[in-house]
């Protein structure tokens, strides 16, 4: 990666040709074999989980707006595994992959998509509004840009409580044009809040290509606020994880925010109703050729730490997990109509 100095206080690190970049690069002291297996499992789980979710949507089991994460797995897995258990995160509506990478129960995620009482949000939130506070997963947010200020506030609270937790905030390239992006980056630097801003640049905000929605480069703009800002290859889970660890380490030890722009690509439409008139099939095919999961498999097999048997074992585990999730969701009861009025506010003796 060639470093191009932008300002005294911040640097934009450019990866060669992300996302057209090469497959996983050899890390000096990279993840252990266990970690690599874990990454592969999570990436394959997310891939399969989303395929299944798509099926369930066409079957009418899942309703509302549904945004699949397929293609971006390396981002979630590389970034979120760099967090500690006591760290917190908020993300946007394309949140299944992030929830799975953070270790939320697949059964309860699928149940949420089914709108069942066993869901992580009790069936009240749906795909765009997943929450699991026990995992520091403070939500998927459906209003573009709205969770960025929340992340600053979470960072501020951590700073005030002097616990050393870091807050991760994930959002897309299209969100960068929102005013709250600007307000949040500025506040985070001014107040030195430990927040990792992780932008998944999949080149489109719905059907609008980034160059039509932003007059400049994302990581370059972020650097102008005086925070460390890097652009990385989001199709390489090892690079993402390496950069993510640096970012989290920086926030935890130095305090203050850190910005990562991960170049990636979404294979499926923006949502289930997307006619995809704005891009060519060929473009999608091109990116599928550089699939992050395949790249990781190659990396592991080349190093002799993955063989067909091992791969089959993981695939089988993934299959079982996803089938279990659907079974759990199917079996999970609908929330009772008598619960409709509960929890509009929290009152003494509620719980």
């Amino acid at each position: 990666m060639s470093a191009a100095a932008d300002t005294a206080q911040s640097t934009i690190v450019q990866t060669g040709a992300a996302p057209a970049g090469p497959g996983p690069s050899a890390p000096d002291s990279g993840p252990s074999v266990e970690e690599l297996n874990h990454f592969l499992y999570q990436m394959m789980l997310i891939r399969r989980f989303e395929e299944k979710t798509g099926e369930m949507y066409t079957k009418g089991r899942v309703r509302g707006f549904l945004h699949l994460y397929t293609g971006q797995e390396a981002c979630a897995v590389g970034m979120i595994n760099a967090l500690a258990d006591h760290d917190k995160m908020v993300t946007h509506y394309r949140d299944h992959g992030h929830a799975l990478a953070r270790g939320l129960d697949p059964n309860r995620i699928m149940a949420e998509l089914f709108g069942r009482s066993g869901g992580v949000s009790g069936g009240r939130g749906g795909s765009m509004h997943l929450y699991d506070v026990s995992k520091g997963f403070l939500g998927g947010y459906a209003i573009v840009g709205a969770h960025l200020p929340l992340a600053v506030g979470l960072g501020l609270a951590a700073k005030m409580k002097k616990n050393d937790s870091v807050t991760l905030c994930i959002f897309g390239d299209g969100s960068v044009a929102e005013g709250e992006f600007h307000e949040s980056l500025n506040l985070a630097v001014l107040w030195k809040t430990p927040v990792v801003f992780f932008c998944e640049n999949n080149l489109y905000g719905m059907g609008v290509p980034l160059q039509e929605s932003l007059s400049t480069g994302i990581s370059r703009l972020a650097a102008a606020y005086n925070m460390p800002s890097v652009q990385i290859n989001g199709m390489d889970v090892l690079e993402v994880n390496r950069e993510a660890k640096k970012a989290v380490e920086h926030c935890r030890t130095q305090g203050g925010p850190y910005f990562i722009e991960a170049m990636t690509y979404r294979y499926r439409g923006h949502s289930m109703s997307d006619p995809e008139l704005y891009r060519l099939k060929e473009e999608v095919e091109q990116y599928r050729k550089r699939d992050a999961i395949e790249a990781l498999k190659l990396h592991m097999t080349e190093r002799g730490i993955l063989d067909d048997a091992g791969l089959a074992e993981i695939a089988e585990r993934v299959e079982r997990t996803v089938d279990d999730a659907v079974a759990f969701a199917e079996a999970s009861p609908q929330p009772g109509l008598d619960t409709l009025g509960l929890y509009v506010t929290k009152e003494p003796g509620d719980d």
Binding site: G64, G115, M128, H129, V144, V208, T339
Partner: protein
């Protein structure tokens, strides 16, 4: 007359007005290449080109503000906000700039702008994506608030919006987009603002609705006729500001009973205004207090059963009517 869905009637209105007046242009998130999240603008980029159909970044306050500025600069823009839920981000521009400039400038400045927004619940989008804000916008002097319930009205009212020199908040209930109806082809077909529509005549009770709730009102009227032999008059307000109270009052003075149906939350909703005005102007005609049927006082949940339970239904309307007879 041509039969078409409301979404196509809206598109026809946009096409005709763009051909009629070159001050008219469109901007919004994904209205171009994507074709619009509810396909209202599909094809217009191809027909009118990038000059007049602008895909914008996701920056609601910025694009509404730019629409206001362009209107001040002599154009007549239409800005589409994907859904009304995102208008909270542009509310300052709508309330403090668009609604007030004509008055504050002592009539020097006008803001001829049409803001189109998809609205309403019922699609399991969850609480952040299911607002009904017709009443909220109707609260602000300087705005006009339009909320059609069918294809023909949608066309006539949207075309009329482009003949107005003020900012028109044009609200489209997502449940209405696919509704088919006979739509006049006449390029001069306009529906004036402030003219409620009596969709069904009746003698025993007046049911008032707007936007999506008109359909619960109509279904309830049929149920009342068929099951209870009660004759209900149904009124579609069509615009909340200006508001046609005369049509409502004339009806209530005849039926002596009124039920208001709306998708919005009841507490502090527009139904309160209607209820209060009916009391103020037809007190002696009322045989029973005006009833309000609206959403339960909760953020709209994703789960289908819960969402349906929270939203007003035709059964709720029937129940309200029976309770007052």
């Amino acid at each position: 007359m041509t039969e078409m869905r409301m979404r196509d009637a809206l598109k026809e209105a946009l096409r005709e007005e763009m051909h009629r007046d070159d001050r008219v242009f469109l901007m919004g998130e994904d209205i171009g290449a994507y074709g619009g999240s509810y396909a209202v603008t599909a094809g217009l980029l191809k027909e009118f080109g990038e000059e007049r159909v602008l895909d914008t970044p996701i920056a609601e306050s910025g694009i509404i503000g730019a629409g206001i500025g362009a209107a001040m600069g002599g154009m007549h823009p239409m800005v589409e906000l994907m859904t009304i839920n995102f208008s909270f981000l542009a509310m300052d521009q709508i309330v403090n700039s668009a609604a007030k400039l004509h008055y504050m400038s002592n009539a020097q400045i006008t803001v001829p702008l049409v803001i189109r927004m998809a609205s309403g619940g019922g699609s399991q989008l969850g609480a952040t994506h299911s607002h009904s804000l017709e009443g909220l916008y109707a609260h602000f002097p300087g705005l006009k608030v339009v909320c059609p319930s069918n294809a023909a009205d949608a066309k006539g009212l949207l075309k009329r919006a482009f003949r107005d020199e003020n900012t028109v908040i044009f609200i489209e209930h997502t449940a209405n987009y696919a509704l088919k109806g006979e739509v006049p082809d006449d390029p001069d077909f306009l529906i004036e603002f402030g003219q409620a529509n009596v969709l069904r005549e009746g003698a025993d009770v007046t049911i008032v609705g707007y936007s999506g709730s008109v359909h619960q009102a109509m279904r309830a009227a049929t149920m009342l006729q068929d099951q209870e032999n009660i004759s209900a008059e149904v009124i579609d307000l069509r615009t909340l500001r200006p508001l046609d109270m005369e049509t409502v009052l004339t009806s209530v003075r005849k039926t002596n009973r009124a039920v208001i149906v709306e998708d919005d939350w009841k507490f502090g909703g527009f139904g309160g205004e209607l209820s209060a005005q009916i009391m103020e102007h037809a007190f002696d005609y009322l045989d029973a207090p005006v009833a309000r049927v609206a959403s339960k006082d909760v953020p709209l949940p994703y789960n289908r059963n819960l969402e349906f339970a929270a939203l007003p239904s035709e059964e709720d309307v029937v129940e309200a009517v029976l309770a007052m007879l």
